[in-house]
């Protein structure tokens, strides 16, 4: 079973190293930008809610 799984793993289509790092970089950048934007939005909303409640 382990041998078969290993053989199967070798046959998979995998991303090349540049493809992988480019994709990882883009995803990390998207995540960081989105979390920054959401943090800003949260700060504004927290202030707004604090003002009324």
């Amino acid at each position: 079973m382990i041998k078969k799984l290993y053989a199967e793993a070798k046959r998979l289509r995998k991303p090349t190293r540049p493809e992988l790092w480019k994709k990882t970089g883009i995803l990390l950048l998207e995540a960081v930008l989105a979390s920054g934007a959401l943090f800003g939005v949260d700060l504004a909303f927290r202030a707004l809610v604090g003002l009324f409640l």
Partner: protein, 421 residues
């Protein structure tokens, strides 16, 4: 005739709903001592729920349960499909069927949300975190939380049907990403408490671990097995057309991890809500796995990994049936080289999927287990679900990017008048 929104309106509509969700997440639930409730509802078996709600649970906002009852309801419904085949028929009955299926999910999410909200408030009452520990003091906030579960489920459905992206995924993503900056700040502040070189080393290690986990998750989510298809010639002498059936390593995405973590933490969650304590419950509490004082509780970890692999198989079979695939191939005149059409093709596909899914399950186990082991070794709480968080973020961002590209292409073709307006 149904109104079709433009691409820009769709994106703005989705953004507006995410903003509404974030605004509601900051409205505190009345009748609760929030400082005390935060201490009661942080850590332990509530870690997963806190991550999935973007910290709304420990903050006890009116969105305390977030979209989690809807997710639990969809898990239950998908498991019920094995017993009630009619549910599968409804799900596969085009757009109208899918709408009906989602409505059933919401009907199931409502009582689940109600039970969870009452359990949560009873727990807070037992800890003395309610300002009015009367029947009304429990019923009114529980009703408010349940109504907000309904509202959020409906908003997700609006995103799915009218606007851009997958509603549930985007709400989950928004919750998770919104707690990133506060979490990182907390981590940096706690690191600075030591000497400077150690603090810098800790921060560098943490960043490196995050990047590596992101890279590994991206790597396994990009791996796939391509099965080559040959189509029959359309005319004598014409060139043969070929194609591929891609079988993704993570066919079920993050769903197996969410299924397994929801089920494994359920007993200790219910026990926590109703104030029950028993050493046997440590099996279901991730905080007790790898604990030298309770080594037997690590059996729960083995159970967790087994469930991840089991659910990977279950979800792969549900999302890509080899028998249906073989039927579709036969109807389109395609064959797999060296395999006869019909049952042999289905058996061949099933065999191929079995190995790919096993590999995917093992990869998911690595992602789920690495932060758990790291948490046990470093004694840093909150790390336990870091892997689950990263895989959800990567899956949703990839899915959203693909949907964005597809919408853009459709928009460009429409603008050029290729498909008509």
């Amino acid at each position: 005739m149904k109104r079709q929104f433009s691409f820009r309106t769709k994106v703005l509509g989705t953004l507006a709903i995410v903003l509404i969700y974030r605004l509601l997440s900051h409205i505190p639930l009345p009748g609760v001592d929030h400082m005390y409730a935060k201490a009661v509802l942080s850590g332990g078996s509530l870690n997963l729920l806190n991550i999935l709600t973007g910290g709304n649970l420990s903050e006890m906002s009116i969105m305390a349960l977030g979209i989690t009852p809807y997710i639990t309801a969809s898990i239950i419904l998908q498991l019920l499909e094995v017993l009630i085949p009619k549910l599968t028929d409804i799900r596969e009955d085009g757009k109208e069927g899918m709408r009906k299926y989602k409505r059933i999910t919401i009907y199931l999410a409502m009582p689940l949300g109600g039970i969870e909200a009452v359990g949560l408030l009873l727990r807070l009452k037992a800890s003395g975190a309610l300002t009015h520990p009367t029947f009304l003091g429990i019923a009114a906030p529980a009703l408010l939380v349940t109504v907000n579960v309904l509202l959020l489920s409906l908003l997700c459905q609006v995103i799915d049907e009218k606007f851009f992206g997958n509603g549930t995924s985007l709400i989950l993503l928004a919750g998770m990403l919104s707690s990133w900056v506060p979490d990182v700040t907390r981590m940096v502040v706690s690191s600075i408490a030591g000497t400077i070189p150690i603090a810098v080393l800790k921060i560098v290690l943490w960043i490196a671990a995050t990047v590596l986990l992101f890279a590994f998750t991206t790597y396994i989510s990009s791996c796939e097995k391509n099965i080559r298809i040959i189509y029959a010639r359309k005319a004598p002498g014409a060139a043969r057309q070929t194609g591929n059936i891609p079988i993704k390593l993570l066919g079920g995405g993050v769903v197996p991890i969410i299924f397994a973590s929801t089920i494994i933490t359920f007993p200790s969650l219910i026990a926590l809500f109703f104030g029950a304590t028993h050493p046997a419950l440590y099996l279901f509490d991730m905080g007790h796995w790898f604990d030298p004082n309770t080594p037997w509780a690590t059996i729960g970890f083995v159970l967790y990994l087994t469930m991840i692999i089991g659910f990977s198989y279950f979800y792969q079979t549900m999302s890509l049936s080899p028998w249906k695939l073989s039927d579709d191939l036969r109807q389109s005149g395609g064959t797999i080289a060296g395999v006869r059409p019909g049952p042999p093709t289905a058996e061949y596909l099933s065999r191929q999927m079995k190995y790919v899914t096993a590999l995917g399950g093992i990869a998911l186990c690595v992602i789920a287990a690495a932060p758990l082991v790291a948490s046990a070794l470093t004694h840093i709480s909150g790390l336990a679900f870091f892997g689950t968080g990263v895989i959800i973020i990567v899956s949703v961002l990839e899915e959203t990017t693909k949907a964005w590209q597809a919408e853009r292409v459709g928009h460009v073709y429409k603008a050029k008048g290729v498909f008509g307006r």
